[in-house]
């Protein structure tokens, strides 16, 4: 006789464990289990058939794979957790006995990462396990960076120890330094949530969000213990990633950190990078601090000028020499067809601008109202070497003197103050290091708003600064991360290119209506009413409304006739000739075109319905789902287009 099979003994029931079961099996407390899950990347599973898996009736049970739990069972950290538990027990027992000295001795040996910010265990092996290769680690860096940048900007509380924040900040700045040196930053975007950055490291696109430098509002239902667990893991991860990145470009890690400068708010400037072995590298591989640029800017400018002159003179000769020598380089060669007739192969595009060269050779000055940290980071990452700022923004600037003649660009973000105001306001303005008339402009310098930097970076070219002049209304700042799909609304393109046929017709008709409305007031009501119904019909071309449409069509046919008559009557009363005959003809043609279009769409809908009928049920469901989302998207796009049309019209009117 075959063995009797019982429910819950084999199959799915054995493959899953509830959370309680898992915790019991691991002999951990729930918080410890949570930590372990977070670090090891274990997440709950949704069984295909919940009924088969769970014995209980509760719907909201969390299930884990049994294999996953078994995997946790071999984790060395588990032992650490248990030791910690034992220690806690000892402490509580000592306290219960009133043995305070013993308790304090035990307490000293207890790891309290929530207080000190550093545990007694390391997460190295966990990281190695989760990310077997460096590329894996880079792939998962998005959340890591977002989290650490957020924590670097948090105020320290009992839940978030100051040490943790300091470490986060350091790691983040080190990472930024890498990007500056390697010129890995690609895009950046000023959103309402914060600043998004996208970097490309070893072919991997990494996107992260940095909040604006304000005090973060912490809403009540945020559990910082969970966040802290993540941060602990991410800190270790970023530490290793930083090491690998630094060594990959021949830098020593950790870079030298100047506590004093950091205390003075130097941020990026508090680090001094150095090569791995200076003897071979000769000079410092890169420079974080501005110490080198400390010397007199006047002198520097003079030297620059000299160098420029020198360069100009032998320019032709040097080029010739270079050509002759054929200096070998890593860069891709461009394959040009020599003889006609060959096929053209796609080739990796030669980027027109090197990110390292975008701002090279410029000297920036940041006004005190601009956000220094992001600007400094972006400018440096895109090749700018000399950035000065007002001394209230912190230490480490190239110059704090706004009148420095070396400055080529100044970034300002304040409204243009009226002349009368400026003379009054001068006295109060005692925060800046030097008293400058707020409207004062130094000649030979470009004044731009901060958005200029971002738009330049995202478009890989220097935008014309006139658009971004101080106080000028800025052009819209567009996200560089949107991949435009076919048929999707794209604000960069003109409206005419994107409009559907129906929309253009509608728009034209509406225009005509308005024009008519201006001439004949009485027509307005009738026309607008009709217009609405037409739009509606255009928007929802579904089969149910076919009949209605039919009726409407009839109405359409009737209406022009009545209108015509009315117009003639009015003309008679006024004693004029019948006006706008040409317009009428045009409208007629358009109306006809629209009717034809409607008919076409209706037929198409019918065809679609027929074809849909031939699909299997499963495929039909899928198709309908896809269509639903597509329709939603296209409806949104349509809304956007109509809004834009309206605005453009208003603008045209004003003009």
């Amino acid at each position: 006789m075959a063995k009797i099979k019982r429910r819950g003994q084999a199959g799915q029931a054995k493959n899953y464990l509830t959370r309680t079961q898992a915790v019991k099996k691991l002999q951990l407390s729930l918080p410890d289990f949570r930590k372990l899950c977070i670090w090891k990347g274990i997440y709950p599973r949704e069984p295909r058939n919940k009924k088969k898996v769970s014995k209980s009736a509760t719907a909201s049970t969390t299930f884990y794979y049994t294999k996953d739990v078994q995997y946790l069972l071999h984790e060395p950290l588990l032992q650490k957790f248990r030791e910690q538990k034992v220690l806690e027990k000892k402490i509580s027992r000592a306290l219960g006995r009133g043995d305070v000295t013993d308790a304090s001795r035990l307490e000293r040996s207890a790891a309290r990462p929530d207080k000190t910010g550093k545990p007694r265990y390391t997460l190295h092996h966990v990281i190695r396990e989760r990310y077997p290769t460096f590329a894996d680690a880079l792939r998962d860096l998005d959340d890591c960076l977002s989290m650490l940048f957020l924590f670097a900007n948090l105020p320290s509380t009992s839940a978030v120890p100051a040490k943790m924040i300091a470490r986060c900040e350091r790691l983040c700045l080190e990472f930024e330094h890498y990007l500056i040196v390697s010129h890995g930053l690609r895009k950046s975007f000023l959103s309402i949530k914060g600043i998004y950055y996208q970097a490309n490291i070893q072919g991997e696109d990494i996107l992260w969000l940095v909040p604006y430098k304000f005090n973060q509002r912490i809403v009540g239902d945020v559990d910082f213990r969970i966040m802290g667990t993540f941060v602990e893991f991410y800190m270790t991860l970023l530490g290793f990633v930083n090491y690998r990145l630094y060594t990959s470009i021949g830098l020593k890690y950790p870079p030298k950190f100047d506590q004093l400068k950091d205390d003075q708010g130097a941020e990026l400037g508090a680090f001094a990078l150095e090569g791995v072995n200076i003897a071979t590298n000769g000079a410092k591989a890169a420079v974080g601090g501005d110490a080198e640029y400390g010397p007199d800017p006047m002198l520097q400018a003079a030297v620059d000028k000299l160098v420029r002159q020198l360069k100009e003179e032998p320019g032709v000769e040097s080029e010739v020499i270079v050509d002759a020598e054929e200096v070998p380089s890593d860069a891709l060669d461009k394959f040009e067809p020599v003889a006609p007739g060959g096929d053209v192969l796609p080739q990796p595009s030669h980027s027109s601008s090197d990110p390292a060269e975008l701002f090279a050779g410029m000297t920036f000055f940041l006004s005190r109202e601009t956000p220094r940290q992001p600007l400094e980071f972006i400018l440096r990452a895109f090749g700018c070497k000399r950035i000065g700022w007002d001394s209230v923004l912190g230490e480490g600037s190239f110059t704090t003197d706004e009148s420095d003649p070396a400055i080529t660009h100044q970034i300002v973000d304040r409204p243009v103050v009226q002349a009368a105001m400026s003379s009054e306001g001068d006295g109060e303005d005692n925060q800046t290091s030097q008293k400058v008339d707020p409207n004062q402009r130094y000649p030979g310098r470009v004044y731009v708003q901060p958005q200029w930097v971002w738009d330049c970076v995202n478009n890989d070219e220097l935008k014309s600064p006139e658009l971004y002049a101080p106080g000028a209304p800025l052009p819209p700042h567009l996200s560089p991360f949107v991949k435009t799909a076919q048929g999707q609304y794209d604000p960069t393109l003109p409206l005419e290119v994107q409009e559907t046929e129906a929309e253009t017709l509608d728009a034209d008709l509406a225009e005509v209506d308005e024009a008519e409305g201006d001439e004949v007031d009485n027509d307005m009501d009738v026309e607008s009413g009709n217009d609405d119904s037409e739009e509606e019909a255009a928007a929802e071309l579904s089969e149910e409304e076919e009949d209605e449409e039919d009726e409407e069509d009839e109405e359409d046919e009737e209406e022009p006739a009545t209108l015509q008559r009315q117009r003639e009557l009015e003309a008679e009363i006024a004693g004029k000739a019948v006006a706008s005959k040409t317009v009428d003809a045009k409208t007629k043609a358009k109306l006809e075109a629209r009717k034809a279009l409607e008919k076409k769409t209706r037929e198409e809908a019918e065809d679609l319905e027929r074809a849909k009928g031939m699909l299997s049920k499963k495929k039909r469901k899928l198709f309908e789902q896809m269509q639903y989302t597509n329709n939603k998207k296209s409806a949104e796009d349509m809304k956007l287009r109509s809004k834009r049309r309206k605005m453009e019209k208003e603008l045209a009117k004003k003009a």
Binding site: R34, D140, S146, P371, L474, L478, L615, M626, N630
Partner: protein, 789 residues
Amino acid sequence: MGPKSVDKKRKTQVPESESDDELAGRLFDSVLSQSEDDSDFVASDDDEDDDQDDSASKGSQDDEDDEEDDDDALLSDDIPSDLDGEEALGKLLITDDEPEIEVPGVDPKRKDVGDEEKNYRIEKDANGGERYVYDEIEPGYDTDDTDAQGPANTIGDISLDFYDSYPHIGYDINGKRIMRPASGDALQNLLDSIEVPKGWTGLTDINTGNPLNLTDEELELVRRVQMGLIPNELHDPYPNTVEYFTSIEEKMRKTPLQALSSAPEPKRRFLPSKNEATQVMKLVRAIREGRILPYKPPEEGEREAEEEDEVHFDLWQNEEPQDANPMQIPAPKLPPPGYDMSYNPPEEYLPTKEEREEWEKLDPEEREKDYLPQKYGALRKVPAWSEMVKERFERCMDLYLAPRIRKNRLNIDPNSLLPKLPSPSELKPFPTVCQTIFRGHEGRVRSVSVDPSGTALATGGDDGAVRVWELLTGRQVWSVKLSSDEAVNTVRWRPSKDSFILAAAAGEDIFLMVPSHATVTPSLDQASRDILAAGFGYATHGQQQPVAVGKEPAAKWARPGTKLEDEGVLIRVTVRSTVKVIHWHKRGDHFATVSPSGQRSSVAIHTLSKHMTQIPFRKLSGLAQTAAFHPLRPLFFVATQRTIRCYDLQKLELVKAVQPGAKWISSFDIHPSGDNLIVGSYDKRLLWHDLDLSNRPYKTMRFHSEAIRMVRFHRGGLPLFADASDDGTLQIFHGKVPNDQLENPTIVPVKMLKGHKVVNKLGVLDIDWHPREPWCVSAGADGTARLWM
């Protein structure tokens, strides 16, 4: 003896601290000596009349003189009196036997000075040379001190009274009398009393007879004794206990003198301990390995630990790419920000007032986006995003608590899913519009049929009448009322052009008739009547025998009566229960009827030429719904509720059972080529079966919202079929069966014909195709029949 030891101790113990005392002592001594001198002087004065005066005092004075000489000679100091005093005191009081006790009144310094000066004498010896004569050494038990004075009392322990009568008191070592000290007379006494030397007590030493002077210390001693205190101030009556055996144990053992056991010292006490060596080695090893670290103050240790914490090494030094675990799904990345998230978006992304209100009205969880696009004119105006921490936290929660499912997102154009259908224009012709409406029936029209020539239409309705219409014009040309109470359930033309015979079923009766029609020539009419009448002769002659006696015949063939015969109804066949379906055989000699309520006799096959009725199935599994002959081969199909069975009429056996999977089959039709079958069911399904392929449906079509009543193929060579449904519509399909056996038939829905009204949940009840043209006729529950073309 006693004083000497005292001296020594004094010297060693307090060499300098008592210098003041010393000085004072010296001063004091000098005073004393002076007084002594004085007394000497007095005594010498007395000496003069020593002989004459025999008084004891004189003698004593002499003695004193002698003593003084002795002092010079023997370096016996001038303390004897003191000593005596002390001794007296010793007698007087019970002195402490403690060695430390200082003897009062003794000045050792002065004595030492004397020692140094008078250690020896230089005399002339017999040869006239210098001869050092050393002081005589007083032998003693405890001392080798040379300057120990001679006994002050030489008389021993006897009372001085015995010498009262003598001028001396005992003898000294040289045999000379020790003279009694002068006993003061009254005057002397007075003088003494006037100038009281320090420590004067007015007593006389009982041993020496000298005046007993007491020093301060002695007086203090006396006072303390009198007060009942412990005489020595320094004595601590309650010293700390010395735990003898526990504290001095080690020392005691080590010193053999104090050892408790006389056993010889064991060897292990002299050898280095092996156990200790291992312990030490353990520590050494631990230090070498770095397990034991030198002590550091806690803060420093912390700082170092922190530095150590940030270990830096290449974690991925020898990385090995691993195959991704298929069960492990990486967390999806957050979507990148769109245009509307910009701090300065294009104007069209900004929400209108209504949109804003709507967004604010929604629950935060129901919102599609967690933000509203907003335009800040300048970067300095952008505030902090208040939900930042919360958003991050939610992401964390998602990472660790959200189950992940791999979803295959089809990134394809949905239109690619749609099958490529030929365009309807290619599929033409098919009926599209309602051409004619045939009105006339009261109540529902149950059945329609187009005659084989395609000119006449027969309908049967609930009013019990059969009407014949001109198909194109809709004019009624003929009608007959078959029954007053029963509805005409079905009408069917005999499918041959050489006759004009209509079969209609009302209740249990099947009527065969020859309607009058414009196209019917008299010869055709006569031919038809002949065909019908032929059976009567056969029936009367031949076929009466097989009917068993007592058994009710399957059907009764009879004439319907003169009234009906005048109308053209020529034969009535009465079967056992209500007939719902009539199906003619292609050649027109046989027709099958189905009466679903008839149980065993529900299916009957009638032979027109013989007026004979057969019941082919003794028993049927399930209720028979409908039946049909195969258009080409001698096969017979019977549909029950669930299955359609195919029987071979010659071999009388079951050939095939088709299972459409429908719950309740309403009707079916066989394709003119004979290999395909369409089935309509009351559960809204239309099923296409390829009989060669499988007994399961090849295609299932569910386009109707209500039950399907009737399905029909076009018989005239057009690839069309239609179904009629209770939702009031007809659907026309293009169904092309290819000649090639390997190809699958193409089925394309082409038209949905709407027009019939739904009455009492009944829509279209029957349809029929025109024999040649792509026209079809439908019978509706609204009392009309319609021609579609």
